[in-house]
């Protein structure tokens, strides 16, 4: 197939499905077509094609791209053109990928349902009445709904893994520093990572190898020479897997637990040693996270002051009134709440009790995980305590929403790589997910182990090729 044909198919699928899914907030067909044409010409001339030639990719709306708007699905950034591309975008373009559009997300990546988008909520391809998860819900729905094979999302707590799990696809959070954050609008810089969502493990490998590596524009990145497969002789015998008891205690959904146990049995069949261990309660990690993430966010979002971009209330002469009004108009409620919370935990007299203690506790969690990985190769758990929940469930469910990230958060705090992999559907047809977390820079092992899980359990991505209009109504 030519790149143009692939792109045409992709466009047809989007036009057919996105009106139902609402995964995209912007498309860039013209540029994708131009790119596809140049790739086809290259091929016609017999030239070597780049590794991702002709692969349609969607990017989350918090990743900067030259000539695209960058809105983070916030009113604040309506019509904002950043005028530069994120490092990952430059790398994707160089690798020959066709970037077809920008995906919906919770405003400023704050949320876990994509309902907090300033545009509209995105729907779960498996059940239009359910959320796709978030904040990378648009990317997860675009892949799970079969529009694109590959999308980029971003994580702070579990914003890739949770929606990947809800939509039945693979989602990878890389080791902190493996993928450049330059061009990713920061939520909480010490936690943020860009990462891929895909319907296929090979695609995940491919995109990871293309977007990783040291970047002079992001000083927290490291070299990624280590991204190599060990070869065909991956031997699962004797591998040691830990399942933290405290993680399982968070899971109330029977089916989620049963499915995990089923997969674990399959793994034991091929010689993997699985052991239940005791680990810091994820609740404690969540508490630490709920201090550090808003604290950093309050600072990262301070640049949104209405002067260089964003609402500029004309009537206001006074600076304080100007900035207050600008931020009041530009930000949604969730964002304001988190900024407020973050400001409080950094201010005296609360700072010692909250922020300073959270920093200490974060180090303890990091240390504890470090110790755990001396004895085990991987930590395994369900990806989320429940499958996707209903859209617009209202405030009373807000705790559950926050809790849906709970199993992802300890690894995020420690900057560890983790992958969310599909493990079939529940009795209502909703995807269930498994999470594997490894020590720093263990992505090659995580991906190879994921292949093993797929082989032994028989569960792979659950991509919906036909969207059921009636479901969930």
């Amino acid at each position: 197939m030519s790149a143009r044909e692939i792109l045409k198919d992709c466009k047809d699928r989007l036009e057919e499905r996105d009106p139902l899914l609402k995964a995209f907030v912007a498309t860039s067909w013209k540029r994708a077509e131009k790119k596809a044409r140049s790739l086809d010409e290259k091929r016609a001339r017999g030239e070597e094609l780049p590794p991702m030639a002709g692969v349609p990719v969607a990017i989350k709306d918090n990743i900067a791209r030259l000539q695209d708007t960058l809105t983070c699905c916030s009113r604040f950034l309506q019509g904002f053109y950043p005028g530069y591309s994120a490092t990952v975008v430059e790398k994707l373009e160089k690798a020959g990928a066709l970037i077809i559009g920008r995906t919906n997300m919770d405003e400023m990546a704050m949320g876990s349902t994509t309902e907090k988008s300033a545009y509209f909520p995105t729907r779960n391809p498996h059940d239009l009445g359910k959320v796709p998860g978030g904040s990378s819900g648009g990317s997860a729905a675009a892949v799970g709904g079969g529009i694109v094979p590959l999308a980029l999302g971003s994580e702070t707590g579990g914003s890739i893994r949770q929606p990947a799990s809800f939509c039945g696809v693979y989602g990878l959070r890389a080791t902190y520093g493996r993928i450049s954050r330059f061009g990713l609008v920061a939520y909480a810089s010490s936690l943020d990572q860009i990462g891929p969502l895909a319907g296929d493990l090979q695609d995940l490998w491919l995109v990871l190898s293309q977007i990783s590596g040291r970047d002079s524009r992001d000083s927290t990145t490291f070299d990624s020479e280590d991204l190599k497969r060990s070869g065909d002789n991956f031997d699962p015998r004797g591998l040691r897997i830990a399942i933290p008891r405290e993680y399982l205690e968070q899971v109330e959904d029977e089916e989620v637990l049963e499915r995990m146990i089923e997969v674990v049995r399959d793994l034991e069949q091929v010689g993997v040693i699985v052991e239940e261990v005791s680990f810091t309660s994820p609740g404690r990690a969540l508490a630490v996270y709920s201090v550090i993430a808003p604290a950093e966010a309050s600072s990262n979002l301070a640049r949104f002051d209405g002067i260089r971009f964003g609402p500029a209330p004309e009537a206001e002469q006074d600076w304080e009134a100007f900035i207050t009004k600008s931020r009041d108009e530009g930000f949604g409620k969730e964002v304001k709440n988190r900024i407020f919370l973050g400001t409080v935990v950094l201010s005296s007299p609360y700072r010692k009790e909250f922020f300073d203690r959270a920093l200490v506790a974060r180090e303890e969690i990091r240390e504890e995980l470090h110790e755990l990985f001396k004895r085990f190769d991987l930590v395994l758990s369900p990806a989320t305590p429940t499958p996707a929940f209903s859209l617009g469930a209202g405030m009373e469910e807000s705790l559950e929403k926050f809790m849906s990230d709970i199993l992802a958060i300890p690894g995020s705090l420690a900057g560890l790589p983790a992958i969310s992999i599909p493990m079939g559907l529940n009795r209502n047809g909703l995807p269930l997910g498994l999470q594997l977390m490894g020590p720093p820079r263990s992505e090659p092992f995580l991906l190879e182990f994921s292949e093993l899980v797929k082989r032994e359990s028989g569960y792979g991505a659950e991509v919906k090729l036909e969207i059921d209009r009636e479901a969930g109504k």
């Binding site: 990743i63 900067a64 950034l77 904002f80 609008v185 810089s189 992001d218 000083s219 927290t220 600072s299």
Partner: protein
């Protein structure tokens, strides 16, 4: 009740580092460029942009910290200082709060050893321009590397504070880390001042004076503030903790804001920049590379070359001038060299249109009697104007001074013969008549005769006539 008032002053100095590019991006540091032209997504705080540290700025700051005898953190780090201001693009300033580059240093000024609390790196903000009703912001300055130097409250008078800053500025200029131009704002100074009734190291209620932009402003503002606080204390009033500005026209300090309403900067570690680790051996190599400090150089001149303090002050105040002097002093007697430079070259930009070798040559010729002092000055002047060397000027002008005694005797005899009237005047007691006769001799020699010899001989011959008629 009589009590002794003690003034306690500490300074905070901000210095723009002399780098070509900004501290976290590759924009030029030339902030005189048209407004907002030296900007990019990073220094404008565009969403998604990230800082990348300029290593040149680190080296310059390190040079300053080492020269100020600081202890150096092999691992220092960056933090965010959060506050909202229109010219602060990101809503926070990246600075070094928890672990500064340098700490616990000192700087010796004369007999005074002033403690240096910290030396740290940070970024500058943009510039707000008030244009009538309009407020304009120029972000060219945003992200220019700054070094902040904070002294201990070791200064005891406004004059001492001013002198300290003068000496510090001189040192920083010698280090080549900043232009230190107070008018252009590449050196800015704030001061903390409090009055204590003895004993405690800092007065409990400090007043901070902001933006003192000249040495005069520093001394005057501190003086004013010292008197204001003393008067308040005498009247039994408490001194409020506050930040005050200096009104240069009214010559008064005025309230900017009360410390009670002070901002909580919510400092926390900058997550986008890793810990700044200095390579093994870097601190030593920076130390080895330091130039001789101006204060030490001056003392050496006074000690070894017996140069007057009045002259060393002038010579040291510009590094190029001091270097010029140092070279000249190795070619001609140092005291003469100092005098010549101070008297003839202070108004010139250094290096001038004359080399130390050439100036040494002129000085040596004058000393050897080949040139009169005033001829020597003429030669120097022509060197500066034409760029020609002294030997060539002397040759072209035919200014070689003649000290040949036979020639001078003939000259004197001829003048005495041609001016009998004047000679009679002298003999009858008009001593001043000799000046006319000497003038005539010099004129006949076209200025080349050694005037000292002419004078001696003329006097001797006249005295002979007086005695032996």
């Amino acid at each position: 009740m009589s009590c002794k008032w003690e003034t306690i002053i500490g300074l905070e100095i901000h210095l723009q580092l002399k780098t070509r590019s900004k501290i976290f991006c590759s924009c030029s540091t030339d902030f005189s460029a048209p407004a907002n032209t030296n900007t990019c997504p990073i220094c404008l705080g565009w969403p998604g942009s990230m800082p990348a540290l300029n290593q040149k700025a680190v080296l310059l700051a390190l040079r300053g910290a080492v020269a100020l005898n600081c202890k150096i953190n092999r691992e220092s780090s960056f933090d965010r200082k959060n506050y909202f201001y229109p010219d602060l693009p990101k809503g926070f300033q990246i600075t070094q709060y928890f672990r500064p580059l340098g700490f616990e240093g000192f700087f010796q000024v004369g007999e005074n050893k002033v403690g240096i609390q910290r030396v740290h790196l940070e970024e500058d903000a943009g510039k707000t321009i008030y244009n009538g009703e309009e407020v304009e912001i120029d972000y060219n300055r945003a992200g220019i590397p700054l070094v902040e130097i904070v002294t201990e409250p070791d200064l005891v008078s406004p004059d001492q504070a001013r002198d300290f800053l003068r000496e510090l500025r001189l040192l920083l200029l010698y280090l080549g880390i900043s232009d230190c131009n107070m008018e252009e704002g590449s050196l800015r100074c704030d001061a903390n001042i409090s009055i204590s009734t003895g004993g405690e190291k800092t007065g409990e209620n400090q007043v901070e004076l902001k933006n003192l932009n000249s040495f005069q402003a520093i001394a005057r503002a501190l003086e004013y503030e010292q008197n204001r606080q003393k008067a308040l204390k005498k009247g039994g009033e408490e001194i409020a903790r506050e930040t005050r500005g200096w009104d240069t026209t009214e010559e008064k300090t005025f309230l900017l804001r009360s410390k009670e309403e002070s901002v909580d900067y919510r400092y926390f570690p900058e997550p986008d920049l890793p810990v700044l680790v200095l390579e093994e051996g870097l601190i030593d190599s920076v130390r080895m590379d330091l130039p001789e400090k101006p204060q030490e150089r001056k003392k050496r001149w006074e000690r070894e070359w017996k140069i007057e303090k009045e002259e060393t002050e002038v010579l040291i105040s510009q590094q190029a001038r001091a270097d010029f002097f140092e070279k000249t002093a190795r070619l001609a007697p140092p005291r003469e060299a100092a005098k010549w430079i101070k008297e003839n070259l202070v108004n010139f930009d250094f290096p001038p249109e004359i080399s130390p070798e050439e100036l040494g040559d002129i000085i040596n010729r004058v000393r050897a009697g080949e040139l009169s002092t005033s001829r020597g000055k003429d030669v120097l002047q022509l060197c500066l104007e034409s760029g020609k060397n002294p030997a060539r000027i002397i040759q072209e002008k035919g200014w070689t001074q003649v000290s040949d005694e036979d020639y001078i005797e003939k000259l004197v005899d001829r003048v005495l013969e041609e001016n009998p009237g004047v000679v009679d005047d002298y003999l009858s007691g008009k001593d001043k008549a000799i000046r006319f006769l000497i003038g005539q001799a010099m004129k006949l020699s076209q200025g080349q005769a050694n005037p000292g010899l002419v004078w001696d001989l003329m006097e001797r011959k006249l005295e002979e006539r007086k005695n032996y008629g």
